[in-house]
């Protein structure tokens, strides 16, 4: 017969906060355990229409709240690189029994399951979501490409929302060309999502030979944050040099409101969360507590039982910020700061800069036992700092694997582009990817392969 489309027969994975008809959709929460969705998210439908094969739903932080993929009811996600020869060589186990349980590292989050799925060769592409960095962060930690498209480019219909004004479906693939292919299939206006733009999207192919001489790369100085590992700092500088040597203009720029983005994000995110989670009351679907005293008591018990502490904490904060007496001082203020943050980018892009180059994460992936020493809120505040401004401004951004760390784990770098200029963004990302030749993960049980001959390097469309 005829192939259904470009992805016919290609295995894909989908983060479990996307609705999949007839398939359990849990958001890694007790609230939706056993919830069989009756419809497909638009992006899922588009993949299926192309003939993609859905391998499974991937694990995440509960309701996408977190930066480690450690706080879901199905347990934490383990980074496949924990089991790679590269990591094991750099971290010889102290004793055979300790190895498996204490050394493994996190994937980052919240789309950790999707990143791990792509990273471990179980599928060619996976859908994640990105609200503050949830696609780019695990992409960097898992050594895969993570694309956050411009807000309004890809439909959110069927994506269970965290922050409606910042969420986007994210794309995780092994190479930039694949990301462009998937983007081409998913982008475009959806009448079911009133926040998608009306303009027709033209899918594109990336050129094989790219000339960066006409480009101006901006290096935002505020992204050199305390806590940024020296390794990543060095990598970042090296990348800037790479562009300079190739003839691009590389300049330092300023996004002065960057330091305020964490608190701003916290207010706006929790407020929207409080609102979005209000529908989970056990009445129409999902978990319902066995409490029959009154509707209120049923609601209270259901929500206490269904949500983890992270979700409940954000709901309480969000409701606080939305109280009449607090609304002006918190919510409206945060909206104004958000505008300032977005304007920082407008100014910089308006002054001749084409693409911004920044780190994606502060360091390589932490061991799980280290990561859980701090709570979710602390970790999120630390880890989101380099990625969330792009969500505030609605801009497209991509994390590209750049090199391995001293510990043998992936390090990624981030490119941020102009609104709806994904073609330029991905072109630059592809050029960078070609320069750095990031190594293939060598998983223990797999036969060893030549880097250059591995299908990983070729685009999906050439298969």
């Amino acid at each position: 017969g005829q192939p259904l489309g470009i992805l016919d027969g290609i295995p894909v994975a989908v983060k479990d906060n996307f609705n999949t008809a007839g398939i359990e959709t849990t958001c890694a929460s007790n609230m939706l355990k056993g919830y069989i969705s009756p419809y497909n998210a638009t992006v899922v439908q588009k993949l299926l229409d192309q003939g993609a094969v859905l391998l499974g739903k991937t694990n995440l932080d509960e309701f996408a709240m977190g930066s480690g993929s450690t706080d879901g009811v199905f347990g934490p996600v383990r980074n496949p690189w924990s089991y790679s020869r590269q990591y094991k060589e750099k971290n010889p186990s102290k004793s055979p029994s300790e190895n498996e349980d204490s050394e493994w590292v996190i994937t980052g989050g919240s789309s950790g399951g999707s990143a791990a799925a792509v990273s471990s060769f179980t599928c060619f592409a996976a859908l994640g979501s990105d609200t503050g960095g949830s696609t780019r962060n695990p992409a960097a930690h898992c050594g895969v490409v993570g694309l956050k498209p411009t807000y309004g480019l890809i439909s959110r219909h069927g994506l269970i929302p965290l922050v409606n004004s910042m969420d986007v479906p994210g794309i995780l693939t092994r190479c930039v060309d694949d990301a462009a292919v998937v983007l081409g299939l998913l982008a475009g206006h959806d009448p079911k999502d009133s926040t998608t733009v009306q303009d027709t999207f033209k899918p594109f192919e990336l050129p094989d030979s790219i000339d960066v001489r006409k480009l101006c790369i901006g290096i935002p100085k505020e992204y050199n944050v305390p806590g940024l590992s020296s390794e990543i700092q060095a990598l970042w500088s090296k990348a800037a040099e790479l562009f300079k040597d190739a003839g691009a203009e590389v300049i330092e720029v300023s996004l002065p409101h960057t330091p305020y983005s964490i608190v701003c994000y916290h207010v706006l995110c929790t407020a929207e969360v409080a609102s979005n989670m209000a529908r989970f009351d056990g009445l129409e679907y999902g978990h319902r507590a066995d409490m029959k005293q009154s509707t209120e008591s049923m609601y209270a018990a259901t929500r206490r039982e269904g949500f983890n502490d992270v979700v409940r904490g954000r709901i309480l904060s969000g409701n606080y910020f939305l109280l009449k007496e607090n609304y002006e001082n918190y919510f409206v203020k945060a909206q104004k700061v958000r505008r300032l943050i977005a304007n920082d980018f407008v100014k910089v892009f308006g002054s001749g800069v084409d693409i911004l180059l920044t780190p994606t994460t502060l360091s390589d992936a932490a061991p799980y036992v280290e990561f859980i020493k701090e709570d979710n809120r602390t970790r999120s505040a630390q880890d989101d700092i380099l990625t969330q401004a792009a969500n505030m401004a609605g801009l497209p951004a991509i994390s590209v694997p750049a090199a391995l760390s001293k510990r043998g784990l992936p390090l990624g770098l981030q490119f941020i582009g102009r609104s709806f200029q994904e073609k330029q963004l991905l072109t630059v990302a592809k050029w960078f990817e070609k320069q750095v030749k990031f190594p293939v993960i060598q998983l223990e049980d797999m036969k060893s392969h030549d880097c250059s001959g591995f299908p990983h390097q070729k685009s999906v469309s050439s298969l």
């Binding site: 609705n19 959709t25 419809y39 269970i160 009351d281 009445l283």
Partner: protein, 463 residues
């Protein structure tokens, strides 16, 4: 006795007459089987998004224009949060910050002391009109300690019309609502049938001494007819006056009208005042409307809502219709009110005029006295009248041509009412009600009658 000034404002919710709901495609229908008209969005299934219904926007614009409002070319949607079983999402989408129409007015008239001859015309200011979702319905089953929830109504479009506290008594409130009802029915934006819940009225009532500031107001709910509205308002005014004259205070509370007892009862909330935590609706962009001036040249008029286009197509409002009736037919203004107050009566009247030689000023008497009282007595609507306008016209023609007397005409009318299918002429012949034109024949009959009377008188005197 110190005088009191009662102050009455109204909040009216009118269900929009449309095929589908405000933000989803499910059907709008009264008395359908429970939960048979519920889309995924209406049930608040996670991941669903609102899509604005164009017809609802047009209905609101029509209503705004009919009420002399300024139409806001840009209006916004907000979320109003509270937990209740019939509100699946835990919030209602409404327009709290910038509604679709503001600053209008409504003129209404009523008779003083129920005398048709003394009509008073007043104006009430319309503060605003906003689009919002209706909630579902809950039925409390105390016997089984359960609540049954029907979401058919959840998400149906409503226009909330806010009338400023310019009214002073139940009669005024009732007259204002009656006029609003007629306007809505005339322009077709709502069928406004109170009995079917398509028009719901809440009254805000307070009293104060002349020259002093407004008193504390109460909100009266659960008013199911225009008649009960007048009663509820008047009762509440009286209650407040008595309370204050006895040294008590008025609480700012919600009270329910009990139609059986004819009084208002406190609905005291255990938690006190609600904080609705208003927040902008992030899934709906601002609603932009155009007029002839602002409409971009290349835009397809099918894709936008053009205020001027709608204004041009508005039908004659009741006030205009009444004025035309008065001018055309020389009837009294109060007659025109009655004609428009009964569904179909004005059309009936005009049809009779068309088919009879009798002058309108005389026809109106038959319509308002004879026809209307029969209709009322038999609780019959104009459209179900056994006496059609054609039949009545025939009857009036007989009268006009002096073929029957007016008392005979009334007898014929009574016969016609039986609806046995006979024409007026047939009834006249049957009952020999023809007026005798022959003088001599008349004299013979009279003489015969007198002769009979004399016999009787004689018989009486003897006995």
């Amino acid at each position: 006795l110190v005088s009191w000034v009662p102050v009455v404002g109204l909040e009216i919710h009118a269900q929009i007459s449309s095929n589908s709901k405000l933000f989803s495609g499910s059907q709008v229908q009264f008395a359908a089987p429970p939960n048979s008209l519920v889309s995924f969005f209406d049930a608040s299934l996670p991941g669903t998004l609102p899509v604005l219904n164009r017809r609802c926007v047009e209905a609101a614009v029509m209503t705004g224009l009919a009420l002399n409002c300024s139409i806001n070319k840009k209006s916004l949607f907000d979320r109003k949060h509270y937990f209740y079983a019939d509100l699946p999402a835990g919030y209602q989408i409404t327009q709290q910050r910038v509604p679709i129409a503001v600053n209008g007015s409504l003129s209404y008239s009523f008779c003083i002391d129920n005398k048709m001859s003394q009509m008073v015309t007043k104006t009430v200011r319309i503060k605003q009109i906003q689009l919002e979702q209706d909630s579902g319905k809950s039925l409390h089953d105390d016997a089984r300690s359960q609540t049954l929830v029907d979401l058919n109504r959840a998400g149906v479009g409503l226009m909330e019309v806010v009338m400023e506290p310019d009214m002073c008594c139940g009669e005024e409130a009732a007259a204002a609502v009656r006029e609003l009802q007629l306007i809505l029915q005339t322009i077709g934006s709502s069928q406004a049938i109170m009995a079917e819940g398509q028009l719901r009225v809440d009254a805000n009532v307070s009293v104060h001494h002349p020259g002093e500031p407004y008193g504390v107001r109460t909100e009266v709910k659960n008013i199911n007819s225009i008649r009960f509205l007048a009663k509820a308002v008047d009762y509440e005014i009286q209650r407040q006056i008595e309370e204050l004259e006895n040294g008590g205070t008025i609480l700012n509370e919600t009270r329910a009208f009990d139609s059986k007892l004819g009084c208002t009862i406190s609905m005291r909330d255990k938690e006190g005042k609600q904080d609705y935590r208003f927040m902008p609706e992030p899934n709906l962009p601002p609603l932009i409307l155009y007029d002839a001036k602002s409409l971009p040249a290349n835009m397809n008029h099918q894709q936008v809502v053009n205020i001027d286009w709608i204004r041009e197509r508005l039908p004659d409002l009741p006030s205009v219709k009444r004025a035309k009736l008065v001018e055309l037919y020389g009837i009294l203004p109060e007659h025109s009110f009655t004609l428009l107050n009964e569904d179909g009566l004005a059309e009936y009247f005009e049809n009779v005029i068309k088919h009879t030689q009798m002058k309108p000023k005389k026809v109106i008497g038959w319509i308002l006295n004879d026809l209307l009282s029969y209709l009322k007595e038999h609780a019959c609507e104009v459209k179900d009248s056994p006496v059609s306008s054609f039949l009545l016209a025939d009857l009036l023609n007989l009268l006009e041509r002096k073929e029957i007397s007016s008392s005979a005409a009334k007898q014929v009318f009574e016969e016609l009412w039986k609806g046995e299918g006979k024409t007026p002429l047939e009834i006249v012949k049957e009952k020999q009600l023809e007026l005798l034109q022959d003088q001599e024949e008349l004299e013979q009959i009279c003489q015969a009658v007198i002769d009979r009377q004399e016999d009787e008188v004689g018989a009486g005197m003897l006995g």
